[in-house]
């Protein structure tokens, strides 16, 4: 009797924590942990080395961001004449105005279309594939997973030439499709990997209970897998959106005209024959990073571990 109680409870509350994507800048924390900071037990020696490393890392990350921010409020002349590491005494919005007047919103819309459609398809396909793979007991399911995982090992750069020919043959060169379709393909393997691991952590009995309750596969997908895998979907969604939004190689190779230009490519416009307009470039960087920052901050609250709490005893 004793053995029964122990085994059932341990599996559930940690389900969410299984997902710890190794993505810099992503934190995957429990809400409760936010309140109670882990400062170590009283009397325990503080981890000086760790703290030092943390601050060092923060400095390395924060310095460029600081530089980008202060520089985007200068004029080019100001940049040349004053200390570059201190905020300017005459801040100006001129670089931002220049960027916005330079078709910024057109490029922004292109980026938005490409990112949203890529992420939407990736999530839809990946969650369905993950459900099949996680619940499949057949050899076919395992093989499928192996083949999909193989995709992680293939670097995008290595395939860019074939992809280019493929897109051209399909007559999609210099369209937004040329950006959306390949990026979907390259985003699927990692997304499936993360979501599969999450779906596997959903207790078996919940699937069985759904079946007994009369749910078919689609109903189980929408009523159980989707809500339970929400943290994984959020993480995957944000990560892939980041990749696509900041992606440079595909737009560079597969598009040409300014009609279908996306934001990262538009940064090029500020480097002319006789030099770079640094403040304008950096203002464009700030403007293109803002939406992601907003999305991340909103979605972060949903990335809460331990969604399975309460399923069992």
């Amino acid at each position: 009797m004793m053995t029964h109680t122990a085994s059932t409870q341990s599996a559930t509350p940690d389900a969410g924590k299984a997902l710890t994507p190794e993505v810099p800048g992503f934190e995957h924390r429990d809400v409760k942990q936010n309140k109670v900071r882990r400062t170590g037990a009283p009397g325990e020696k503080p981890n000086l080395l760790g703290g030092l490393g943390g601050w060092l890392w923060l400095a390395v990350i924060i310095l460029p961001i600081y530089y980008i921010l202060i520089t985007s409020f200068r004029t080019s002349e100001d940049l040349r004449s004053s200390n570059q590491l201190l905020p300017t005494t005459n801040p100006t919005l001129a670089p931002f105005i220049k960027v916005i007047q330079n078709d910024f919103f057109h490029y922004f819309t292109n980026s938005l279309i490409v990112t949203l459609s890529t992420v939407a398809v990736v999530l839809a396909v990946s969650v369905m594939a993950a459900y099949y793979i996680a619940r499949s007991t057949t050899l076919g399911g395992r093989r499928l997973f192996q083949v999909i995982l193989l995709g992680i090992a293939i670097p995008v750069q290595a395939t860019i030439i074939p992809v280019y020919y493929l897109i051209q043959q399909l007559g999609l060169y210099d369209t937004l499709w040329a950006l959306i379709l390949p990026q979907i393909a390259f985003a699927i393997p990692l997304s499936v990997l993360i979501i599969v691991n999450f779906v596997r952590d959903i207790p078996m009995e919940l699937f069985e209970s759904m079946k007994v309750d009369g749910a078919g596969e689609w109903k189980i997908l929408t009523a159980l897998v989707l809500p339970m895998a929400k943290p994984a979907l959020m993480t995957v969604g944000i990560y892939q959106a980041l990749q696509v939004w900041n992606g440079f190689l595909f737009p560079l190779v597969l598009t040409q005209s300014s009609d279908v230009r996306v934001l990262p490519l538009s940064l090029w416009e500020y480097s002319g024959q006789f030099g770079i307009d640094v403040p304008a470039t950096l203002a464009a960087v700030v403007l293109s990073a803002l939406p992601l920052l907003v999305v991340y901050m909103l979605a972060r609250r949903h990335i809460v571990a331990g969604l399975t709490a309460g399923f069992g005893k």
Binding site: T8, E208, K211, V212, G214, A223, M228, L307, G312
Partner: protein
Amino acid sequence: MASVTYASASRIYTPGARPAINQLQLEIADGEFLVLVGPSGCGKSTALRMLAGLEEVNEGAIMIGGEDVSHVSPKDRDIAMVFQNYALYPHMSVAENMGFALKIAGVSKEERAERVKKAAEILDLVPYLERKPKALSGGQRQRVAMGRAIVRSPKVFLMDEPLSNLDAKLRVQTRTQIAALTRELQTTTVYVTHDQVEAMTMGDRVCVLKDGVLQQVDSPRNLYDNPANVFVAGFIGSPAMNLFQVKIQGQGVVVGQDVLPIPDGHLDKAHGDQVTLGVRPEDMELSTDGTGLQMTVDLVEELGADAYIFGTPDGIKTFQPFIVRVDGRRPPMRGERVTIKPNPNHVHLFDVENGLRLNGYVPEHTPHASLSDVEALADAED
């Protein structure tokens, strides 16, 4: 509401190996409460899951209400199941959990709310309807799991050790509630447990399984009084029946210095010159006339009203200590010498070779068993 029939149903995981469920032949009447009981790994949960449609039926058939459902998907069987760990949907409130099956069945929102409320009233869950399962105690979660089942009014309730996660006191309480509830609803119930007290107290009939084979199915009383083979004798009853081998002498068996007479020619069917004698602890008594078995008391367990004394009688070989129930007010002391003897009206005799009961009705097809099966049972409990 419906009857359930296992018609020689088998579950074979690996062809050639021992089936998890071997030719299970079992009829459960409409509205009956049947308990499947047996030691760990006996296949009781598998049998239940076959009925739920969560395990394949490899041979034979399973019928619900006379309809063959062997290859029908779980969602089309109209059954409700209570899982051992309840399997509540963590992202849904109590009301949503209970109403989920109805929602899928296309029941209107108003009717759903009404039926959920009615079930919640029965189970004292009304104040918790809007809570998520994680905000409930273990006992409340268990009731939600029950509520999820009863709200549907299914043909059959399936319960897979639903009480094993509750603490002892709550378990006893809930046991009574479940038994009363299912009888009130008059829904056929198949209940799996490894706890034979649950089996005895709840079931209309109890089905004992071992290694995927049905040993005996009968009312708790008959199971206790007339175990069909030596395995059932050793398994049913707590503390367990004392089982030991004795020599046949004429129309009786030798117990210590005396011959215990066995009337009605029960010994005629015995193979060999020995039989297995089974005596329940309460059917052993302290002898006052000096006849019987001499035993040194190794241990005394006082339970208040009763006390159990443990020891090994001289000249008797048993795999576990003898247990004798004595008056709780005047138990012998540890180390004391006592004389015990079986009540001749309440002894059980089993054949040494096939383990079948000799002095009483043995249903056809009762499988053979041996004393070593019971020994294995005692080992598993340690």
